[in-house]
């Protein structure tokens, strides 16, 4: 089985500091891979490089046939195929503050995928319901609890139906009940055939819910 994501010799330098050095890893479809390491080890930077939010200095990133090369981040117009393949759930969720939960999810459906309002709202409602936040569709982001905001953010990232989902420290602000619910959700997403790369330092979560771990030091 060919890898959905293949990172080969990735290096990112911030000035004189090597944040990521020679990292190689692969994520297959249906697989949950944990990217582990202490704070500052370059986990978020790696995710940002894969999501083309961050330039890198050496190596190669290949997402389902779309290659990113070292050097400045390409223009958005050149990144369209990548954007359809990769979803990112930010650590602080970064929900659009001026839109309710439902519209956070419909925004990309309507303006990137060009779905009608009715169609996009049906899709968004289904995604929110699957993630157990269907009842919060009309809430503003600041009215959501941490766990609810995270699930809305996952729904938003899933809206364009990406094959690869990146999650940055998803368990950081969750209580044990929410944490296991998240694990179950990730499992379900991988069973749908998606590949998941989860940046975390939560070793228990990694043991319980991921297929394997790659360590950054």
């Amino acid at each position: 089985m060919s890898a959905l994501l293949a990172i080969d010799g990735l290096s990112v330098r911030f000035g004189a500091r090597d944040v990521v050095h020679g990292l190689s890893l692969a994520v297959a479809r249906g697989e949950i891979v944990a990217l582990m390491g202490p704070s500052g080890a370059g986990k978020s930077t790696t995710l940002r490089a894969v999501a083309a939010l961050q330039a890198f200095d050496a190596g190669r990133i290949l997402v389902d046939g779309f290659a990113l090369a070292p050097g400045p981040v390409p223009a958005e117009s050149k990144l369209r195929p990548l954007r359809r393949r990769v979803g990112l759930v930010f650590q602080a969720h970064a929900l659009f503050e001026h839109l309710c939960a439902l519209d956070n999810v419909t925004l990309a459906l309507r303006h990137v995928l060009r779905q009608s309002r009715v169609e996009s709202e049906a899709t968004a409602t289904r995604l929110l319901t699957d993630l157990d936040v269907g009842g919060r569709a009309a809430a503003w982001p600041r009215q959501l609890s941490g766990g609810e905001a995270q699930r809305v953010a996952i729904a938003r990232a899933l809206a364009p139906d990406p094959a690869l989902l990146l999650l940055d420290e998803p368990t950081a602000a969750l209580d044990p009940v929410r944490r296991s619910a998240l694990g179950t959700t990730l499992r379900r997403l991988s069973q749908q055939g998606r590949g998941l790369l989860v940046a975390t330092h939560d070793a228990a979560f990694v043991r319980e819910y991921t297929d394997r771990a790659v360590s950054l030091s």
């Binding site: 117009s77 954007r83 990112l88 930010f90 970064a94 309710c100 990137v112 364009p160």
Partner: protein
């Protein structure tokens, strides 16, 4: 202590021997102008008349105080000077409000028209639907207002007596109605070309001196001095020296020597001005709304250019913003209205909207830039990971969020603009403040007009602030 008192008295003493008189040197020759040989001194026939009065009163000398022409009455009541003298017109309202001397000069209100119009235009009645300029708050302006109602001319009020004539030559107005000595001076300044002065006067008027209401004893002494000056020929000599003597003046002085009664007219009813104030408030509101619309559109373009543009565009937009913010709005108004007149002859209202709009655009641009930059970076990155183009992120994410930050300062700016719009009266747009000034000059007091004007401004700005607060609260609910 005693020494100090003596010193104070010593300083005070000479002052009582000096006649302090006020006038407007900006009005210029032949009334009062800065002496080209010594700009700290003034010269003109009113300067000589003041000196003659001072001599007649037994004062040591006359000292000049500069005051804006339209404020002479208020300043003399305040005690800034004893005698106001600088082409001050004899009007019933002025006589009712202040102590006014006998007239010392008779002027004719004359029409000036472009040379090629002189066959068609012989009187105000021939100017239906045409623009006729004059100096605001004068007898001539009242004549034009009356003619607006009777013959349908369009009165245009200026703050000075130079630009009506330059605008006549430039074709912005079709005629100018002003005192004959002002018209003759303007014609000389223009090299005796460009326009002609119609020989038939529209009306006659007189120049007087004005004193504070309670100063009628001194006024009577000044009247006596003026009569002496008429009898002994010293007034004629002054007028001849300044080239403003003619036979009509001689006939006038001959009759003026005999004492005459001063008739007080009924004070102008305060409420009579309310409709014109409300009309002027309409002009202010229209001007502000259109200028603000222009400022928002141009401001958005400038802010986008500064944030998203290539280097040359960033440099240009930054230069524009700094230039506009670093120079006075008044200067920009003059440049757009008068400076550009050689290239494009903008109507006054349009020039005002352009100047205010383009000026405020610079401030709006900085508000928008600040607001756009205040939107957290992760919000933009979230948009990018979802596949939005930069333009979509600006329209769907960054713009709407920035609006919340921009709303309060924008409202502040609009209220400021509402008030700054009063500046455009310098290019003949009669808006609320200008109308109030005209009203105040006519009734001779700022108390009622000032209060009414303030009330009208508040009526416009308070609901606006309220509306902005409500809108902010509504948008605020969505935010963190």
């Amino acid at each position: 202590m005693l020494a100090t008192l003596v010193l104070l008295l010593a300083i005070q003493q000479p002052h009582s021997r000096v006649l302090v008189w006020g006038g407007d040197a900006e009005g210029g020759a032949p009334f009062v102008e800065a002496d080209p040989a010594d700009p700290s001194q003034v010269r003109g026939f009113d300067v000589d008349v003041a000196a003659r009065i001072a001599r007649g009163l037994g004062a040591r000398s006359a000292r000049f105080v500069q005051v804006q022409w339209s404020n002479i009455d208020q300043s003399v009541e305040r005690g800034d000077f004893t005698l106001g003298l600088s082409g001050v017109e004899d009007t019933p309202t002025r006589r009712a409000r202040h102590a006014v001397t006998i007239p010392y000069f008779e002027f004719r209100e004359v029409l000036a028209v472009r040379a090629d119009d002189q066959r068609r235009i012989h009187a105000l009645a021939d100017l239906r639907g045409r623009r006729v300029a004059t100096l605001g708050a004068t007898i001539a302006y009242d004549l034009l207002l009356a003619a607006r109602d009777s013959t349908g001319i369009i009165p245009i009020s200026y703050d000075d007596d130079v630009h009506p004539y330059t605008d006549l030559v430039a074709g912005r107005v079709d005629a100018v109605l002003l005192d004959h000595i002002i018209a003759q001076r303007a014609l000389r300044r223009n090299g005796n070309t460009g326009f002609v002065i119609l020989s038939q006067p529209v009306a006659l008027g007189h120049y007087v001196g004005v004193l504070a209401r309670g100063n009628s004893v001194l006024r009577d002494s000044i009247d006596a001095v003026l009569r002496d000056a008429m009898r002994d020929g010293s007034l004629e000599e002054i007028f001849r020296r300044w080239g403003i003597w003619d036979d009509a003046q001689g006939a006038f002085l001959a009759t003026a020597v005999s004492p005459r009664s001063t008739t007080a007219a009924a004070p102008v009813q305060a409420l009579a001005y309310l409709p014109s104030l409300l009309r002027a408030a309409g002009v202010t509101l229209l001007l502000s709304i259109l200028s603000m619309t222009l400022a928002v559109v141009v401001g958005l373009a400038l802010a986008s250019g500064r944030l998203y543009g290539a280097l040359p565009i960033r440099v240009l937009t930054t230069a524009y913003i700094e230039l506009v913010r670093g120079t006075p709005l008044l200067l920009q108004l003059f440049v757009i209205y008068y400076g550009l007149a050689g290239i494009v002859r903008l109507p006054a209202l349009l020039a005002a909207i352009l100047a205010l709009g383009l000026n405020y655009a610079a401030y709006e641009a900085e508000i928008y830039r600040g607001a756009l930059e205040a939107v957290p970076r992760t919000q933009l990155e979230a948009g990018r990971t979802l596949g939005f183009s930069e333009a979509q992120i600006l329209r769907l994410v960054r713009g709407p969020q920035a609006l919340r930050y921009a709303l309060a300062p924008m409202t502040n700016d609009f209220v400021a603009l509402l008030k700054d719009s009063s500046l455009v009266s310098v290019i003949t747009v009669v808006e609320l403040t200008k109308q109030t000034a005209i009203y105040a000059t006519n009734v001779g007091s700022w108390v009622v007009p000032g209060a009414l004007c303030a009330a009208v401004y508040l009526l416009m700005s308070l609901p606006l602030s309220r509306f902005a607060r409500r809108l902010e609260r509504r948008l605020g609910k969505q935010g963190p």
